[in-house]
Assembly symmetry: C2
């Protein structure tokens, strides 16, 4: 049982630390607002994070009026919601956007003295060689050169940090997902800085490699242990591991990349699967009774 | 006078090309919807792009009901608006997010046969050694190792593309900005993949370098020709140069980084300056008479 330690001496010297992009600062009553947070759920889109906040309210906090749930703080970049012991917050697309949110929300939860908050990213991804609709739970992040570290540049120097998620989170998520009957895989998630060229798609505005190059690279990634591809998790795994924050990523796959690149058709039925899993997982983490009966749309009978 | 050529033979082979993240596809009447586009304005936030669309309507298209302006296409990621010959569209934060939008909107405008559309990104940035409030117009993009190319990985290989903007755009923008009486600079814009560590700030959740490392790096960047720092333009300059699209970035600075890192206080007055400049520039590009008298808030007397 511990709070998040921020290992940056400069932050302690600030009279007030402004979390500019989320609209809070260390001079506010953060302990009163966020001291009870046990679970932080991240995902790309604003509306989706609102929906997840509403589902958590229905599941665990029936006293909350679902229609009253609105974003808190600054809303021009991210939309953050708080219901009971849970924050849901959009991170938009890509590691740089998510990194801003992670720095600010983590400093905020440290000041708020939240106890052992668990971070989970829910998203969509391209599977390499699994059926579309598979729930993939990441145990580590791969960069786009197939290393299991996040590489970035700070003050002109290249820094490398291992990207690993917490077995204490991904193992129970895996159990919950299989118990719900979803096709589920656990493994590495490769993170790329673009949807088209970065993910070796053939259908971008620019493409300087051949289909053979693409397939060869995807097979090489598969052999290295990569199950799916998205745009956030290598950074996420590196940041949370460095700060000893328990974290995992759980993405549904929308396409099997060895068969094609384009995302088309009715994919919305699958994207609720990670939500069903995280609600089930939260029963144990929050220690609260379920009041709902949420089932992803396509699994209604 | 020419349309955009997409140098990717795979795209031509697709029966229908789905621009997944913006919600259009090549089977639609894109020429009817977008064939008349002459100017595409990009910026981070949804609401800001709506405001700019409204200002363009008031300035050049008085027949458009400003209250009727609403986002078109898919709105869960980006918000795109079309008024007359102008598109405004949010790109959120960071190169990966912007890259998705650039690939899709460019393929779309190519199919629409838009003639010589000019791309301009408006944004905010940190200045290295200019007063906060300065309008900085980029002539080239720098990566965070101070090279003037964008480096990325595709199909497992590192690719490097020079990042340069069009004098045909940045020179008239500079003229318009100085004529409006704004402090204006023209020069290099360094692009980083994070707001905190990536930009050598001292106030992130993690910071492994010293204040001396930071100042030494910022001075080195300054000496190399970097005027300001943001998170999109190195990719933007490389993508548009590769495809022969006339483009520029124009950002106001919110902080002088040699003096500090935190963005605080009333910065909103400055952020309208690039809008005033691009409206003035558009008079010539669109060849239309102005019907408004837009002045940034802080410059009202």
């Amino acid at each position: 049982m511990s709070t998040i330690t921020i290992p940056n001496p400069h932050v302690a010297k600030l009279e007030v630390d402004h979390y500019y992009h989320i609209g809070f600062n260390s001079g506010m009553d953060l302990a009163g607002m966020f001291g009870d947070v046990k679970l932080v759920i991240f995902g790309g889109a604003n509306d989706r994070m609102k929906k997840i906040a509403q589902l958590f309210a229905q599941a665990f906090y029936p006293e909350i009026d679902v229609d009253s749930i609105a974003p808190i703080g600054e809303t021009s970049r991210f939309h953050m919601f708080k219901v009971g012991n849970v924050i849901t917050c959009s991170h938009q697309m890509g590691q740089p956007s998510f990194s801003i949110l992670l720095h600010e929300i983590t400093k905020m939860l440290s000041v708020a003295k939240a106890i052992d908050p668990v971070y989970i990213r829910l998203g969509t991804s391209g599977g390499i060689d699994v059926d579309a609709g598979t729930v993939v739970i990441s145990n580590k992040g791969f960069n786009n050169l197939l290393g299991t570290s996040h590489q970035f540049v700070a003050a002109g120097k290249v820094i490398e940090r291992p990207s690993e998620f917490s077995a204490a989170v991904y193992e129970p998520l895996y159990k919950c997902s299989t118990e719900l009957g979803f096709k589920t895989a656990i493994g590495g998630t490769m993170c790329c800085d673009d949807f088209y060229e970065g993910q070796s798609r053939l259908d971008g505005a620019i493409c300087e490699y051949t289909e053979e190059d693409k397939i060869e690279f995807l097979k090489r990634a598969h052999d290295a242990g990569v199950v799916n591809i998205e745009m956030e998790s290598c950074y996420f795994g590196a940041f949370t591991k460095y700060l000893n924050i328990k974290a995992a990523t759980m993405c549904v796959t929308l396409v099997r990349r060895l068969n094609g690149d384009q995302v088309v058709g009715n994919t919305h039925a699958w994207v609720d699967r990670p939500i069903a899993v995280v609600l089930k997982y939260a029963e144990g983490l929050l220690g609260l009774k379920r009041h709902d009966n949420f089932v992803p749309e396509e699994d209604h009978h």
